[in-house]
């Protein structure tokens, strides 16, 4: 019984990180209607950024997170102006292909530079012992950090001037322009924040598991699931969606063999979509 409890806790901890990763995706979709297929690549870049900061400068992985965020933001803004800016508002396929191209470039260059052998970021933290089970300390810290970052983002979007501008552009770009908001700049910033969040989520994942430049793909898939669960374009929903996905994984795994987990997970996912086609956590005003 304790085993099931520990498994559920583990699931929730990892779920919080799924949630954070998905926030990056859902923010970009919510604000500019772009499905960012470079999301996984950016998560992977965050992983490598953390690796090089910790091994290069010797900074603690957690102190390195702001640096990864800043780097992710800059990369995001550059990607926005180079690849995304001109296709916003055009057919959705355009932005899909543009971001997919970015993803292919990042993965290709990353493979050439770092091969695809797994990298490790060593984190030594005491775990929490429950009977014979141990919940690793790095999982706990990463989950707390993920929730804290999500809360900060929420505060930023709802209480800061810039955050309000982002929401205004998301809600109606033309009206926002008329109010004197420079919408293109605001979109660039929002895209930068979305990528920065993906990169930080990647960095947190890197403190838990070994990774390669291809590792982002797995979390990109989870992000899509989480995003749809939480309602597209809804950051708070994404966090809850992540926790829910983690909860499902954690409560299913003790009872079935590992290879069955995705089958059950995705069956539940389809059932949820049938019952709640707009996502489970569509709080507030819908699109």
């Amino acid at each position: 019984m304790l085993g099931v409890l520990v498994s559920v806790i583990n699931g929730l901890l990892v779920g919080a990180i799924y949630g954070l990763a998905a926030i990056g995706l859902t923010l970009i979709f919510g604000v500019m209607n772009v499905i960012n297929l470079a999301h996984g690549a950016m998560i992977a870049l965050g992983m490598f950024a953390l690796y090089f900061i910790t091994t290069g400068i010797g900074l603690s992985p957690y102190l390195a997170l702001p640096v990864v965020f800043a780097g992710g933001f800059i990369v995001g803004v550059v990607v926005f102006w180079v690849a995304v800016h001109r296709v916003i508002g055009r057919a959705e396929l355009m932005s899909l292909l543009a971001t997919f191209a970015v993803s292919m470039m990042v993965v290709g260059l990353g493979t050439a530079a770092w091969s695809t052998s797994p990298y490790n970021v060593q984190v030594h933290l005491p775990g929490l012992t429950l009977g014979r089970y141990t919940i690793p300390g790095n999982h706990i810290v990463a989950a707390v950090a993920a929730v804290a970052i999500a809360a900060l983002l929420y505060g930023f979007l709802y209480y800061s001037r810039l955050g309000k501008a982002i929401r205004a552009v998301a809600s109606n770009r033309q009206a926002a322009e008329l109010m004197g908001i420079p919408s293109a700049k605001v979109l660039a910033i929002a895209f930068g924040i979305g990528i920065a969040i993906a990169a930080v989520a990647g960095a947190l994942i890197a403190t838990l598991f070994p990774f390669t430049i291809l590792s982002g793909a797995n979390y990109e898939l989870k992000s899509f699931v989480v995003t749809v669960l939480g309602g597209l374009g809804n950051p708070a929903g994404a966090l809850l969606g992540g926790l829910l996905l983690g909860l499902i994984e954690g409560s299913v795994t003790p009872f079935v063999s590992g290879s069955w987990t995705p089958v059950i997970e995705f069956t539940l996912f389809v059932l949820i979509l049938i019952a709640f086609p707009r996502g489970l956590f569509r709080v507030g005003r819908g699109r």
């Binding site: 583990n10 699931g11 089970y133 141990t134 990774f211």
Partner: protein, 402 residues
């Protein structure tokens, strides 16, 4: 017009290029995983091939009758994907005119390559591919360097039986052909030995979060873990076992702990054992090719790391093929295959003999495995041969925490 002509010449040149080989070259084709999840395992094997080629060519080449042929390796990146293997092996035979083939790394990719090599009637010496099933399909030109998968975990279980016959064993392994075959062999062997298997579970090869599996392992009350898969998953599992204080008396995993990069896991690697096709301190007296010391020294000098069995297997595939060609005195596929069928020899890599029955042709039946364990010497992690006892370089640490 000039531009078009230049383009045409360039295009023709590009198409013709891979086919160019001087008249005195033996072309050996293969794919390797320069990218993808098998990269860490495949790289040392590739190093083994390359070092063999350079040693042969530095000595003038392979002697076929009165002529010496240089070795030319033609290889492509299969991205660890079998659909690439299928296309590329066909290309190696039809466009690159490969005389002989080596296998890609891993049982899965090799099974795909074997379909092509057999279709075109080319001898393929396989290495890094232990699953036995491929050799039961009636292939005539396939020859295996590795001890088959079902025998991999036998030595680990023998060691458990000798140290703790009441151990509770968990079999946790990757859901791929090779690992499943190894685990099936282990389950059968445990039964023969009367050992108690309390958990038997396969995980997806791309798994990165093992906490659910480890929680189940703890719930099962197991104190010995046997299983694993390849480098990416095996190293991840090892790290998380350490983070979650799984408190096991013995951990024996396939493949991963034998890759030198495994030592980067630090304390988590301590005590983990691995069934190994070959270890540098092996004491074989070769009938042909280098001695184990000579191979190890040359490899260290060139690649700045101690070779594991993947590297040795690559080099061994080379000298096995070379010996067969020299004995046959011909590049003819059937003559070389006949020599391989007859082979019963010792190399630096150990004894080599291929099964010649119709239902298991090409299966490796001469080669034996050892069990190696990561131990500490002067505070530094070092791999020692711990089983069988006659090959020991250090006694087995059992339990690990000892």
């Amino acid at each position: 017009m000039i531009r078009k002509t230049a383009l045409a010449i360039l295009l023709a040149g590009t198409l013709a290029l891979p086919g160019i080989a001087s008249a005195k070259d033996i072309v050996i084709g293969f794919t390797t995983s320069e990218t993808g999840r098998l990269n860490a395992d495949a790289t040392p094997q590739m190093h083994g091939f390359e070092m063999w080629r350079d040693h042969v060519n530095d000595n003038g080449g392979i002697k076929v009758g009165d002529t010496k042929y240089k070795v030319k390796l033609v290889h492509y990146d299969d991205q660890s994907k079998s659909n690439r293997v299928q296309q590329l092996y066909a290309r190696l035979v039809t466009q690159d005119d490969a005389d002989f083939l080596f296998s890609p790394y891993s049982s899965g990719l090799t099974a795909t390559a074997a379909i092509i090599s057999e279709q075109y009637g080319k001898v393929m010496v396989t290495t890094g591919a232990a699953e036995g099933k491929t050799y039961t399909l009636g292939n005539r030109y396939l020859f295996q360097t590795y001890t088959p998968a079902h025998l991999y975990l036998a030595s680990a279980l023998d060691a458990v039986k000798a140290n703790n016959p009441d151990a509770k064993i968990a079999l946790i392994y990757s859901n791929d052909g090779f690992s499943k075959a190894a685990a099936k062999g282990a389950a059968d062997h445990a039964k023969e030995l009367g050992l108690n298997v309390v958990m038997d579970e396969a995980y997806d090869p791309s798994t990165s979060d093992f906490s659910p599996v480890i929680n189940k392992l703890v719930s099962s009350g197991a104190n010995v873990l046997v299983g694993g898969g390849h480098f990416a998953d095996g190293s991840t599992l090892t790290r998380q076992l350490h983070e979650q204080n799984a408190d096991l008396k013995m951990i024996s995993l396939l493949v991963a702990p034998d890759v030198p990069k495994f030592a980067e896991l630090g304390d988590a690697a301590y005590g983990v054992s691995v069934p190994s096709q070959w270890e540098p301190n092996a004491a074989f007296k070769p009938d042909f090719g280098p001695t184990p010391e000579a191979f190890t020294q040359a490899y260290k000098k060139r690649f700045d790391e101690t070779p594991g069995y993947h590297a040795a297997g690559g080099y061994a595939a080379g000298i096995i093929l070379q010996h067969a060609i020299e004995q046959a005195g011909s590049l003819d596929t059937d003559k070389v295959a006949a020599e391989l069928n007859k082979m019963d020899a010792t190399t630096f890599y150990g004894h080599i003999k291929f099964a010649s029955g119709e239902d298991n042709h090409g299966l490796q039946v001469g080669h034996d495995m050892v069990l190696a364990q990561w131990q500490k010497k002067d505070g530094k992690l070092q791999k020692q041969v711990v089983w069988p006892k006659k090959a020991q370089t250090a006694p087995l640490l059992y339990p690990i925490g000892q």
